[in-house]
């Protein structure tokens, strides 16, 4: 099953965009933007390119559930996907994030 398929009206079932590409990692904070590990750059969830490779649910894999802001294993991922959650192979943590967080325990 391909994850994060856009529910757009139109003839095509799958709109091949970053959010359903296996190379894409959303920001954990602002998930409409993310990082393409193939091109090494920040793109938006509905950007697209010719290298698109569909993101599928596989076994023995962890996913970042962007809707729940947490990591889930493939055993749970199916249930998340069927509720319309957005799942990715990881999230994109920016390298300076340390400067934005606090001493908190």
């Amino acid at each position: 099953m391909v994850l994060n398929v856009l529910q757009k009206r139109g003839p095509r079932g799958l709109v091949a965009v970053c959010m359903n590409c296996r190379y894409w990692r959303p920001s954990p904070h602002y998930p409409y933007a993310g990082y393409c590990i193939l091109h090494g750059k920040v793109t938006l969830e509905d950007d697209s390119c010719s290298m698109h490779s569909p993101l599928r649910l596989k076994r023995n894999q962890f996913y970042w559930c962007s809707s729940c802001k947490t990591r889930v294993s493939s055993e749970e991922a199916g249930a998340h996907a069927s509720q319309g959650h957005k799942l990715y192979l990881g999230a994109y943590v920016e390298k300076d994030v340390r400067e934005e967080i606090y001493d908190a325990f």
Partner: protein, 637 residues
């Protein structure tokens, strides 16, 4: 009168810190004094956090709600703060989040979700961002939607390169839009961005472009508040620093040479800041006189707080100016060593950053619950100095004084500072932290070599380890330091401890130990301590305007307790009200213990958020109207 309040909310890690700092910088560059505060959860990433900023011509004394502008970078921020904006104010939000339901926001606290469901249920709707905005609109607030995703795309197109940072573009757009609506010209936001990211030139340009685009978008929707005129400090350089940072600065300025610590909120940032500056450049006079360029402070992270305090004691006994820094749970572990430090007469400073307990409590939130703990720390009779600072600058100067007191009286000094001071920041003028009128000197008495000599004033000659043969022990001891259980020798040492306390009381002047503000003939006297000071001073002005005269007794040292002043001030008052952020009214408890006077009314805040000035106004009026014993105020998200 300029009094702007801005709240910037978003997920922890999502750029709230730099947005807050840029906001503060923009206002400082515009010539204003600022007060800012971080409120965040015990979480690394993703939980809701926010910055509260207040801007005035003189330094703001308290945070307060509602705000003029809420910048909500995500849905949770709208749903958390939509009722905290004043009529006529603005909510900047991401228009892409309009349909988000509270129930789908994973990090949002369950009790808040329930309250929202109930609130919107009564209105026959569901808690969603757009419903929340509707409520705000009904109250005269203007929601301003920013299509964040589309704007991000336009920023990338305009700079002709991929975005350098997601969080640090989204935050700037929200902030720039918010500041525009607050009346700040884009130019100042740009200058603040440059100042903020001067070490990261790559992200300056995209951020400046992002700010411009957001302002362009917003200015077509609304003109915002009247443009802010230049403030009185325009062109003058101000520092913006947190209480954590100011205490670290004071330790360096005050000649500290060893600091130990174990990581704990809200104290670690102090030690880390000191560590960043541990090898510092000397000023020209010192360079010339000492023939050195730099000097070091040993800042060491230890394996636990037991080690931290014992190491500081060891360093002090060898002659270093030594301190440690902790919070309630760590201080609990230090208790045995406090008693040891009293017995061996070790000059050490313990900076105790109070947070909301009991137990692990809410580690990142405000509380004033460790006063009794500090005062009665250590087994056996353990007199020591306990000083509580009322604001950022007091925390700075008290640190310098405490280092000196510790040496002069050869005793541990516990410096109480609250979490609110730790992570809130103020604008400071240069003269306010310039060492003046308070000479920085070693204060160890050196008139002999009998380390524990029984003296009139209870202070013995100081003999550091390594200077002669000696013994220092936590066992009761004779004048030469050797252990003894002899009853006469024991009495002599106990009497010496008593006389030392009397000396401390005599030598630390009463005006250092207590401060009294307000009209002498006021009917209401407020008694408080710690970071409630400035909110109280601010509330006093407001009460005065409403015809309620008040006086404020700020207790600064609890050991030695300023009995005379407190007793005099309270016994003459008609209504005495304690203001504290703990359950018992710990200072009021001590007032009774030391003076016999019972404080009959209390304004308490217990929810872990700093007290606001208007809450004190409310509490005082309520007590005067109803005669209630205790008013608990509950503001803040």
């Amino acid at each position: 009168m300029v009094d702007l309040k801005i709240l910037i909310g978003g997920p922890q890690g999502g750029g709230i810190e730099s947005a807050g700092q840029i906001a503060l910088k923009a206002f400082v560059l515009k010539g204003y004094h600022v007060l800012g505060s971080r409120e965040y959860q015990s979480n690394i990433m993703g939980a809701h956090s926010y910055y509260l900023v207040r801007v005035m011509r003189r330094r703001p004394r308290a945070l307060t709600l509602p705000v003029d502008v809420l910048v909500a970078l995500d849905a949770e921020s709208v749903l958390t703060h939509f009722e905290e904006v004043r009529p006529g104010g603005f909510i900047v939000y991401d228009s892409g989040t309009a349909n988000v339901k509270a129930s789908t926001i994973a990090p949002m606290a369950k009790p808040l979700k329930e309250r929202l469901s109930e609130f919107f249920g009564r209105r026959g709707s569901e808690p969603t961002v757009s419903e929340a905005l509707k409520v705000a609109e009904e109250r005269g607030v203007t929601p301003i939607g920013l299509p964040m995703k589309q704007l991000l795309r336009r920023v990338a197109e305009a700079t002709e390169r991929p975005l350098a940072s997601i969080s640090r573009t989204v935050n700037i757009m929200g902030l720039a839009a918010g500041l525009y609506l607050a009346g700040v010209e884009l130019e100042y936001v740009k200058d603040a961005i440059v100042a903020q990211f001067s070490a990261k030139p790559k992200i300056i340009k995209p951020n400046v472009v992002a700010a411009s685009m957001a302002v362009e978008h917003v200015s077509e929707l609304h003109e915002g508040l009247p443009r802010l005129e230049d403030g009185p400090l325009k062109g003058k350089q101000l520092m913006v620093a947190t209480g954590n940072e100011l205490v670290a600065m004071a330790k360096l300025v005050g000649g500290l040479s060893v600091q130990t610590y174990y990581p704990i909120t809200p104290s670690s940032d102090e030690a880390l800041y000191l560590e960043e500056h541990r090898y510092f450049e000397l000023n020209d006079v010192a360079k010339e006189r000492l023939g050195l360029e730099k000097m070091g402070i040993v800042v060491l992270q230890t394996e636990d707080e037991l080690s931290a305090i014992n190491m500081a004691i060891g360093a002090a006994l060898a002659g270093a100016r030594a301190a440690t820094s902790t919070s309630g749970p760590g201080f609990s572990l230090m208790n045995e060593a406090i008693s040891y430090a009293v017995t061996v007469e070790a000059p050490i400073l313990i900076t105790l950053w109070m947070r909301a307990g009991p137990s692990t409590g809410i580690p990142t939130r405000e509380g004033q619950q460790d006063l009794l703990h500090a005062l009665f720390s250590g087994h056996g009779d353990t007199p020591k100095i306990v000083v509580a600072s009322g604001d950022h600058l007091e925390a700075y100067w008290d640190t310098i004084k405490a280092l000196e007191w510790a040496e002069r009286f050869q005793t541990p000094v516990i410096h109480l500072v609250d979490k609110y001071l730790a992570s809130s920041m103020i604008s400071i003028e240069k003269r306010e932290i310039e060492p003046r009128g308070y000479p920085i000197m070693r204060a160890l008495k050196t008139d002999g070599d009998l380390r524990y000599k029984v003296t009139e004033d209870g202070i013995s000659p100081w003999v550091p380890l390594g200077s002669s043969t000696m013994v220092i022990t936590g066992l009761e001891h004779t004048e030469d330091g050797f252990a003894t259980e002899d009853p006469v020798a024991r009495d002599a040492m106990m009497e010496k401890r008593r006389r030392k306390m009397e000396t401390i009381k005599r030598e630390i002047p009463e005006e250092e130990r207590v401060r009294v503000y307000g009209a002498r003939d006021a009917d209401v006297v407020l008694v408080s301590w710690g970071s409630t000071k400035n909110p109280i001073l601010s509330a006093m002005e407001a009460l005065e305007g409403e015809g309620v005269g008040t006086r404020f007794v700020q207790i600064r040292t609890f050991f030695p307790f300023p009995e005379d002043t407190v007793s005099r001030e309270l016994s003459e008052a008609k209504t005495v009200i304690g203001v504290e952020q703990n359950l018992l009214g710990q200072a009021a408890f001590l007032v009774r213990a030391f003076t016999g006077y019972r404080v009959r009314h209390m304004i308490l805040k217990l929810n872990g958020r700093p007290i606001f000035d208007d809450e004190i106004v409310y509490g005082v009026k309520r007590i005067l109207e109803t005669g209630e014993e205790t008013v608990v105020v509950r503001g803040g998200s």
